[in-house]
Subunit: 156 residues, 2 copies
């Protein structure tokens, strides 16, 4: 069974997001060993300078990178988009070879250095989504991916 790691910044605040995460984690347990690691937000003063902001992003990205293993996928609106079917194929292919790690940045995103170190920079949308809600969208799509790969029907 493949190891799938969701590496992200900060704890989920809303109860409904926690419940959604629990639901998809349960469903995913049929297909992979899922781990969700929540790394600390880097402290940032209220009126942070650009260099303080970059330092915080760098620090957060580093902590995600350190926890990763296997095929590294950074999530970013500037990344490459794929259909659910291509995403399913990609997950299947890499989960047969080793671990898969997904990186979700905090509210300030991921560092360019980290995107360069990732195997794939993936975008779900041209739109910006809140990183906490996005975690649910990603979990659902990983679940959908395993369902597609295993040839099961799945309600849209």
């Amino acid at each position: 069974m493949a190891n799938v790691k969701i590496l992200c910044i900060g704890k989920l605040r809303e109860k409904y997001l926690k419940e959604a995460q629990a639901e998809y984690s349960k469903r995913l347990s049929a297909f992979c060993r899922l781990s969700i690691e929540e790394k600390k937000e880097a402290p940032l003063p209220k009126n942070a300078s650009v260099s303080e902001l970059h330092k915080a992003i760098e620090q957060e990205s580093e902590s995600l990178l350190r926890a990763s293993s296997g095929y590294k996928i950074a999530l970013s609106p500037e990344g490459k988009q794929m259909t659910s079917e291509s995403f399913a194929k990609m997950i299947k292919q890499h989960s047969q070879r080793g671990d898969i790690s997904f990186f979700i940045g905090g509210s300030n995103g991921l560092s360019d250095k980290m995107k360069a170190k990732s195997d794939l920079v993936l975008s779900f949308s041209d739109m910006t989504m809140p990183h906490q809600l996005f975690r649910i969208v990603l979990l659902e799509q990983v679940y959908r991916g395993f369902m597609i790969s295993s040839g099961r029907t799945y309600h849209k």
Copy 2:
């Protein structure tokens, strides 16, 4: 205050989705008169033929179209994508002129006829999302749109 209609198929099943919808509905009440109308799923036998499926999609699409007013936006993975900033501008522009209606199809999507009758066919992603979770993603983006247009900062 603008009327924003979310016209969709079927009731939300999961408690966490209902709570997320309630949260964004509350937040949106600062910016618009939001109405969420849930139309009935068209009955479909288990092993439906292609023509039965098309008839059901047509029926659902018709019921959404009948409930709409103003600028009509059909949501579909095959539509045009935009950034959150362009989406915000578009909402601002049309909400100053009249109502805005968003159409979210059921698990079988929207009819081609209905997409042709819409003013805009909009895609959030090349990926397929479940229509119930997508409703939350749309509500969040509409809220984000109003926040951007009003020049307020909003946590990503």
